[in-house]
């Protein structure tokens, strides 16, 4: 079993290596897609066979003298299901990219990087050792950096890739320290040992370690306060957004919490922080999503919000609910992004203002994306409805004082979740109406292409032509299947998640179901009403004065600039001044005195041997005198 999992990890890595080496001679598709297919089959085999078992195997790497680092796998139900999600989405994205980036000169390196990302993500999912997890975590970050910067000719892509890298690294610093704290407390880097070492009722090192880990989680999963990189990351090609910035990598933060869940469950302060983080992220991102003018940015902010549902579910003890939402979201959000790629291909622009009436021009995309948006909004019976229900159910359970998690976390997540459900329904409806209905709009002549847009997505054919190549359309259909049907797994429950922790019931409850449906109806109804009144106007106007700040992501970037960038610049200036005016004076003084001394001594070098000899003997006499007097 673990051998199959290891092979699944290794295959995409090998494909990436081959792709980078021979990508110019062999068609990259022929390397990337078979490897992805094989990895998919292997992960499905693993998931089918794992049941409720936990399989571990580990090879100790070189002795480090203190804590050993093991190259090991730990396969359980959570890991197996997540791996299936990763490989399936990666495979579909590879197929989709083959058509989407067919003309791209850098397609071979792109395909290799996506393969490498898949391998790294599988490593994160399967590994049983925290240090190895960190390795995969960082490799993912690097792949994300490269892929966001795929169109490095544009300024937007360059700055977005650097921003993504720096912001996530900012979270990775406490993440690394957190791993070390946990390892020091448990005296091992192995997840099994760490979890086994967590004492009943928690301990100081558990709280400290998990709080530090939250930094990495916030960075990777784009949670408040490190959320700003994700919308900008949409400058990457759309398939990359689907794979990395929607379905898999950003979910790694939530996955990590789920993986180490017993440790987090034992640290109540961490859970409360996580709940506050999730609540703030949910509402803020939903408002931002409602105000965005660009399809991909709407989806990006909605990703942030859905990730906040996951972290919120984790914060209230609903690990299974969160994982359920993770898997469901991975499917429908990948579908939405890939569909967005098709729409951009057809409409020739990513701006909502340039779309409209696409229902007829892209029928398959219309139907599949309708399913995806319905799942996003939580319309029954789509998968998102059940998974969101599960999260809200867990929150309600905790708010009611059941379980060991503080009730305040439950209340926070419950209220924020219901509010966000309404907002989510509102922006999903807004997108649905503006893209597929209404008059067919052309992008206004001379209208600026949004700065973050990837060049390949715009101005290319498709305008007036057919929908899109088959390789781009069929993945949508494939992804629509889980989007529609995945939710029904809630009734038997996800049997192999091994959920004896906290709240593990996934079946919808009447109270939350009713309130969530009311929220859904409110949100969607408001938007539809606004649309009815004036189909030409943007329903986002219901936001009123909040709309402007929400469009700019609530100016968090400006806040960072004021709080961090400006002080750092000032400190740098001060440091530069100190260096130039103070330290350099000493350095230059030392140099000057040496120069003067040398100039003085240089005078003695006049070529007169007698002078040299006189000096020599004078020195001897002085030494002899010193000896004679001293003795």
């Amino acid at each position: 079993m673990t051998v199959a999992a290891a092979t699944a990890c290794a295959l995409p890595a090998l494909a990436a290596l081959f792709g980078l080496l021979f990508g110019r001679r062999v068609r990259p598709v022929l390397i990337a897609v078979p490897a992805g297919l094989a990895a998919t089959v292997l992960t499905i085999v693993v998931a089918a066979g794992i049941g409720d078992d936990v399989r571990e195997s580990a090879v100790r790497l070189t002795p480090t003298g203190a804590l050993d680092i093991t190259l090991g796998l730990r396969v359980d139900g959570l890991a197996a299901l997540s791996a299936v999600l990763v490989t399936v989405v990666a495979l579909l994205v590879q197929v989709y990219s083959a058509a989407y980036l067919r003309e791209d000169p850098r397609y071979s390196s792109y395909a290799a990087l996506v393969s490498l990302f898949t391998a790294a993500m599988l490593l994160v999912v399967y590994t049983g050792d925290l240090i190895v997890l960190l390795v995969g975590w960082e490799v993912m970050g690097v792949c994300s950096y490269f892929l966001i910067g795929h169109h490095w000719e544009t300024e937007a892509a360059r700055s977005a890739s650097i921003k993504a890298f720096v912001v996530t690294k900012l979270g990775d610093v406490p993440f690394l320290i957190g791993i070390l704290v946990l390892a020091a407390g448990a005296d091992s880097f192995r997840i099994r040992d760490v979890l086994a070492a967590v004492p009943e009722g928690g301990a100081g090192w558990v709280t400290a370690g998990t709080l530090l880990l939250l930094g990495g989680v916030a960075g990777k999963s784009a949670q408040v306060p490190l959320q700003t990189w994700l919308p900008d990351a949409m400058a990457g090609p759309t398939p990359v957004s689907a794979l990395i910035h929607a379905a898999t990598m950003v979910a790694a933060g939530a996955y990590l919490v789920a993986r180490l869940y017993p440790a987090f469950l034992a640290a109540h302060p961490t859970l409360i922080v996580l709940a506050v983080m999730a609540a703030a992220t949910m509402i803020g991102s939903a408002l931002a999503a409602l105000a965005q003018e660009d399809l991909k940015r709407v989806l990006a902010w909605s990703t942030v919000g859905q990730l906040a549902y996951m972290t919120g579910g984790l914060a209230v003890g609903g690990r299974d609910a969160a994982v359920f939402h993770l898997l469901a979201h991975g499917a429908f959000k990948a579908l939405l992004f890939l569909g967005a790629g098709v729409l951009i291909h057809v409409a020739g622009t990513g701006a909502l203002a340039g779309m409209g009436g696409l229902r007829r021009r892209a029928p398959i995309a219309f139907w599949t994306m309708t399913a995806g948006l319905a799942a996003l909004a939580g319309v029954p019976p789509f998968s998102g409805f059940f998974s969101k229900e599960a999260v809200l159910g867990a929150a309600e359970h905790t708010a009611g004082g059941h379980g060991s998690v503080p009730a305040v976390a439950g209340w926070l997540v419950l209220v924020a979740g219901l509010l966000t459900a309404a907002l989510t329904a509102a922006y999903a409806t807004r997108v649905w109406l503006r893209v597929f209905f209404g008059p067919t709009r052309e992008a206004a002549p001379g209208a600026e292409v949004p700065a973050h847009a990837d060049a390949a997505d715009y101005g290319e054919p498709g305008r007036g032509g057919g929908e899109a190549p088959a390789a781009m359309v069929w993945p949508l259909v494939v992804l629509a299947v889980p989007t529609v049907l995945f939710g029904f797994l809630a009734f038997p429950g996800l049997p192999s998640l091994g959920g004896e922790l906290g709240y593990d019931e996934l079946t919808p409850h009447p109270a939350t179901t009713v309130s969530a449906l009311i929220a859904l109806a409110l949100g969607a109804g408001t938007v539809v009403a606004a649309w009815r009144r004036d189909p030409a106007a943007d329903p986002a106007r219901v936001l009123g004065p909040v709309r402007g700040p929400a469009l700019r992501g609530f100016d968090v970037d400006g806040l960072y600039a004021a709080l961090v960038v400006t002080p750092v610049r000032l400190a740098a200036k001060a440091a530069r001044f100190t260096d130039g005016a103070v330290i350099d004076t000493y350095v230059k003084g030392a140099a000057r005195s040496a120069w003067l001394l040398g100039g003085g001594i240089r005078r003695g070098q006049n070529g007169n041997t007698r002078l040299y000899l006189t000096g020599l003997f004078a020195g001897v006499v002085v030494l002899a005198l010193a000896v004679a007097v001293g003795s």
Binding site: R602, Q605, N606, G607, N608, T609, R610, L613, T614, F617
Partner: protein, 107 residues
């Protein structure tokens, strides 16, 4: 005889030789001054040989060696001085300033 007499003679002779080496311009005169210093050493050697009643006569043997080496040294030294003189038409040591940092006006 008091040992101090030959020893003080040697020291004074050495000091005179040292002064000559440092003060004189002509290379041949410098060589002469070096001979004075060597002879001062010889006086020392002979005096101590006698004083210590050395059965191996190390002092006297060493004196002979010093005289021999001095002869060889003066021969080579003169050859070098003559060569310098042929090339530069001077045997004055202060005029030989090839080792100086080159500036305008220096030879």
């Amino acid at each position: 005889m008091h040992l101090v007499y030959p020893l003080v003679l040697a020291v004074l002779l050495f000091g005179i030789g040292l002064y000559g080496v440092l003060a004189r311009r002509n290379a041949i005169l410098v060589l002469m001054s070096i001979e004075l210093m060597l002879n001062a050493v010889n006086v020392n050697l002979v005096a101590f040989d006698m004083y210590l009643r050395d059965t191996l006569h190390a002092g006297q043997a060493l004196t002979l060696f010093v005289i021999t080496i001095a002869a060889a040294e003066i021969g080579l030294g003169l050859a070098i001085v003559l060569m310098v003189f042929r090339n530069r038409a001077t045997a004055d040591i202060p005029d030989l300033r090839e080792l100086a940092e080159h500036k305008e006006g220096s030879v």
